[in-house]
Symmetry: none
Subunit: 201 residues, 4 copies
DNA sequence: TATGAATGAGGTTTCATTCAT
DNA sequence: AATGAATGAAACCTCATTCAT
């Protein structure tokens, strides 16, 4: 059954293109990134890329989904660990610090898409935002079930938590704070949040 | 003294170009925005724009400084009002809600610059971020002097406050929350922050 | 072996572009010549020209080398014929008359490059000048070996010969002398030169 | 009579513009030279230049006449001195060496115009060429009257002399020969020419 | 007369996309 | 399926020239 082998090959090539595309888009942004160069770096012909993606826009969107998946997996992994809510919030914070450090390119691409002007890109980036909020909301719900906290609006609170982790970390990074410094703030921030929950009652 | 009149005219034209540029850059982003179209919308000749700005890049930077100034003035105005810290935090929140609503274009331009790939743009956008933090830090310091709160690291805390207002609001807007809804969360968020300060002691 | 066919096609297209470029550059000069028009006249797309030449400057240089090659070949051919020095000098003279007539465009391009302000163009044009001198010097050397003449400095003398043929003819053409008239001066000029050699002894 | 003073002022300004124009045209060529820059260097307003010259083309032509006058004066001066023909030819040669050295810019402008593509420029440059030939022809005629030489066609011979001085020197300069070296060839070249006259009988 | 702000035509070059092989 | 040669739209920027002051 060569069909399956072909299918695997095709998927492998697709992934390879996405990887190279992510690098280029992160390095230069959507407009300045060069499709031909992406093809070249992926070791395929200029035209071949169009056998996998309809056009530059679709390639960018696919790449956006690609890095979203990867980031969400990292966040899910961090929150999957056991422990009380404060410990989990610390893990979430640390996970974002790691991502902001190691996948800063992906973050830039994602943020550009989220606040950029292209409607299609924004829609796609918003999905990741929604997923983040959903994952955090789930954790908060569990904590509520276990009686650790009591919050009025889970989704709004989840968004606050996200702002105090992801956005806070990104801003801090932009302002020049080192990964080191940020790591030491994990516990403090988690406390800040936990304490804040009192207000939500 | 015709010099002054000319000087005024010149400044007026400059401002006019910046306004139109802001609209176009917000609508299309730096790369897709068209200098010719900006000139046309500003009601001047193609070449005239280059009598006011060296090139497209410089025009963008000037516009960035322009909207930064305007936004910072709005925030400063909101915080200038008297009242205790919680009331001021509410005002800050409401100010950002208003800005996110009325100057959403400016926010998009600013965020794109902050997380985009162009180093010069990022540097300029970072300045505004720093200014925001500085303004909030000032308010926190005053509150501390008055004994309302006691925080360890003023700047880090200010950044947390900013994340829980600006970033939170922007994310909420992206997720579709109405201005109306956000306004009702001003008090809640301010409480959340005030409560969180307990953790910082 | 489709490679060879493609290679041939490519070379043919290159030559074709060079021909059209030569015509346009000769007609309008480097600055006024229009790449779009050259492409159009060559029957190819605007962008295609950049698949063969890096930019306008490189196209011009390539064309300069192209016409230099062609002119030098004509001169070499003229001097290759047997006969004593005077006969060869006559042949040289006649060859230049023919070139000045049939390839006047090339001459204009070449002279413009030689005395123009663009350093790169001048360097390239100087090469042709050097080649001319070298070819003539070779003939003089042979004549000296055969005892026909005795000259002190071969290169300087060769440059004199060149001045009395190429430059003389170009000036005469500019002053309106017909090809006809010039042809009748071949013998006279050759005699002038031969006689002049007596001075060099 | 302020009229005369004004007239003098006007002529002075004209000359000044021409001087600056000559420098810029020599430095950059007709197309690359910038009218605004010429005006600035001449210390006058952009628009003022158009009160003295109809347009860029006319300015260039005026400048061409300007440097032609100056060069011709130098050549006339060199040939005015007494002595036999050979001595005068030596003087002519030396005069061109000096010009090629000190007024190399003017020479480039002149040669570019002479062999360039602009018909109007070529016509103007040709006038100088004609003048050169006429001046030399006059000297030859005098020498013939005095019985020093006997030539068939004075004008053709004059052109030969010009080729063996001006063109020879320009070529030699392009090929890198120093002024020093060229000066030592004055006598040799004059001899070459004198000897060549024998052929013309 | 002198000025210089304003104009807009014009041209090189890039690059996403197509399509014949 | 894969390729890459060919295409041409699109845009920034310059600069000669005009004209109101």
């Amino acid at each position: 059954m060569p069909k399956i082998v072909d299918e695997q090959m095709r998927e492998a090539t697709r992934q390879h293109i996405l990887h190279e595309a992510a690098k280029e888009f992160a390095r230069l942004g959507f407009d300045q990134a060069n499709i031909n160069l992406i093809a070249e770096k992926a070791g395929i012909g200029k035209g071949t890329i169009y056998l996998y993606f309809e056009n530059k826009r679709e390639l960018f969107l696919a790449m956006l989904r690609f890095i979203a998946q990867s980031q969400l997996a990292a966040i899910r992994g961090a929150l999957a660990q056991h422990g009380n809510l404060q410990m989990r919030l610390e893990q979430l914070f640390l996970a974002f610090v790691r991502l902001a450090e190691k996948e800063s390119d992906s973050f830039n691409v994602y943020m550009s898409a989220l606040y950029g002007v292209n409607r299609a890109f924004r829609t796609e980036a918003t999905k990741l935002l929604r997923d983040y909020v959903a994952v955090i909301a789930l954790v908060l719900e569990e904590a509520q079930v276990r009686g650790e906290i009591r919050v009025r609006n889970i989704d709004t609170t989840a968004l606050m938590v996200l702002s105090l982790t992801e956005s806070f970390i990104l801003s801090a990074r932009v302002l020049g704070q080192s990964e080191q410094t940020l790591v030491t703030q994990a516990s403090q921030t988690a406390q800040f949040i936990m304490q804040g929950f009192v207000a939500s009652v």
